[in-house]
């Protein structure tokens, strides 16, 4: 059985506007997916350094090998922007930026960043490109803004449990929960001998080998 972790932020302590449904959204994923649950950090206990690589970026206080990169699937719910996803506690600098991140060199295969604009099309490969993918299979996110809603994490887990591939499950749960002005997006890596297009959740279908040294990145987007 695969392992999962979630982080969510509702109270932004004046750094951003507060959100109302990120806890329900992330915990819906956590409590529904057939998985071994490893961590659930919310509000002031959710830190950007949990997602960052030690020694990368500035500040260099990343601890992802203990948290985000120590499980198979992570779900984050909170604010975002093309330059990163945002936290309410300034332990580090309250932003997990692509330049601070290298995922998959330990464990992480998939991450859902349920936050606005993180996978905005323009410049996506320059932001979330080669240095981020060190074995990671897929980043799930949005090209546009997205709603502060409570159901998407649970639905993602239900679709994964029902045997849909990771990309199919993400598209479905986004279409179920957003109007057609919202654009889902994902970014995945492949290499010789890998097939992340057909990835499923552990125990529900095929799972690709890790693209530890990817040769291709695929960015896809469509309206919900």
């Amino acid at each position: 059985m695969g392992t999962i972790g979630i982080e969510w932020v509702q109270k932004y302590n004046g750094l951003q506007g507060n959100l109302s449904n990120t806890k329900a959204q992330a915990e819906g994923f956590y409590n529904t997916l057939s998985a071994t649950r490893q961590f659930n950090w919310g509000d002031d206990l959710a830190w950007d350094q949990d997602f960052e690589q030690s020694g990368e970026g500035s500040p260099t206080a990343g601890t992802d090998t203990t948290w985000a990169d120590d499980v198979d699937f992570v779900f984050f719910s909170g604010h975002g922007s093309p330059s990163g996803f945002l936290f309410g506690k300034s332990i580090d600098d309250a932003v997990a930026r692509p330049g601070d991140i290298a995922w998959g060199n330990r464990q992480l295969e998939w991450i859902a960043l349920d936050a606005c604009n993180v996978l905005e099309r323009d410049g996506v490969f320059n932001r979330w490109g080669w240095p981020v993918f060190e074995g990671l299979h897929t980043i799930l996110g949005f090209h546009t803004t997205t709603g502060d809603e409570p159901d998407r994490g649970r639905l993602l887990a239900q679709y994964l449990n029902a045997g849909w591939s990771v990309r199919e499950a993400w598209i479905r749960c986004c279409q179920d929960t957003e109007g057609s002005a919202t654009w889902w997006a994902y970014l995945r890596a492949d290499a010789a001998g890998t097939d992340t297009y057909n990835d499923h959740w552990w125990g529900k279908g095929s799972v690709s080998n890790d693209p530890s040294n990817p040769t291709s990145l695929f960015y896809a987007r469509g309206t919900c």
Partner: protein
């Protein structure tokens, strides 16, 4: 000190609006199987909790048990157009194909509007090429529904048909709930709705010194929940769109404020979803 929200949108909406109840869907394995067969598969339908599903390597039909909704998917085509099917039909052709495909499934009590036609786009980057390659996996024809002139907001009242270059339909869905008007309700005033929005948790920790907030558009409508969710009544809401700017970031928001107070509803009726979680009470 609190944050002052700048409201640059004024709208008129009725003081009394219909209560839009929904008729529970009557799906069962037999009805779901009939729909699946009409959509081209004789695969046995299975009960998978929120859905009835008929699925094999060629196609899938998913029927949402919580509403009058379904989804159709071709599973023998590549969703990233890596099978040499890159491209899309022209916009008018895609619309015509979508309308023909959806024609048997238009809700009887809905007004239909082609909301947008959008590209399903794939960008492929390789280490040895400077610019990513662009592929199109077809066009999405997006349809919105309204009822008696009222906008139906949210994700639970819409349809989509994805049309490939060769004119075939690769994916489609129709999300809908059959409606049964059930009396009337008195709406809150626009000023009260704005006050409730200003007092919402969105702005709780912000002040005029640290942020700026502006509402640029407002419209009245009925919020519809995801098609997986049972919903005895649609929620009359004011949809507010605007921008919030803090020291760190500027971003757009869409929020829904309950346009009818629960006290204004008939006390005899059972209202089980008076204010969904994504509505500001």
């Amino acid at each position: 000190m609190t944050l002052s929200v700048n409201f640059n949108a004024r709208i008129d909406f009725p003081k009394v609006v219909p209560v839009l109840g929904t008729i529970p869907p009557e799906w069962d394995l037999k009805r779901a199987g009939s729909l699946a067969r009409a959509l081209g598969t004789r695969i046995k339908v299975v009960d998978a909790g929120p859905w009835y599903i008929a699925r094999d390597e060629r196609l899938a039909v998913e029927v949402y048990q919580g509403s009058n909704s379904f989804r159709f998917t071709r599973r023998d085509v590549d969703g990233e157009a890596r099978d040499g099917t890159d491209g899309a039909p022209d916009r008018d052709t895609a619309i015509a194909i979508a309308q023909e495909w959806l024609a048997p499934y238009w809700p009887a009590d809905a007004e239909v509007d082609i909301d947008s036609v959008t590209e399903r786009e794939i960008l492929v980057a390789t280490r040895d090429e400077r610019e990513p390659k662009q592929l199109l996996a077809g066009l999405d024809v997006n349809v919105r529904f309204a009822h008696r002139g009222f906008a139906l907001l949210g994700s639970g009242a819409k349809a989509k048909v994805a049309v490939r270059r060769d004119g075939s339909v690769s994916e489609a869905y129709r999300f809908w709930r059959d409606l049964a008007p059930n009396g009337e309700a008195t709406t809150r005033s626009l000023d009260e709705l704005y006050e409730r929005f200003s007092a919402s948790d969105l702005f709780a920790d912000l002040t005029d010194n640290s942020a700026r907030a502006e509402v640029v558009s407002a419209r009245f409508g009925y919020l519809t929940l995801p098609p997986t969710e049972p919903m005895p009544e649609l929620s009359p809401v004011l949809e507010l769109q605007g921008t919030l700017e803090t020291e760190h970031q500027r971003y757009d928001f869409t929020r829904y404020v309950a346009a009818v107070a629960p006290d204004d509803r008939d006390r005899d009726r059972k209202v089980t979803n008076a204010h969904p979680a994504l509505v500001i009470a």
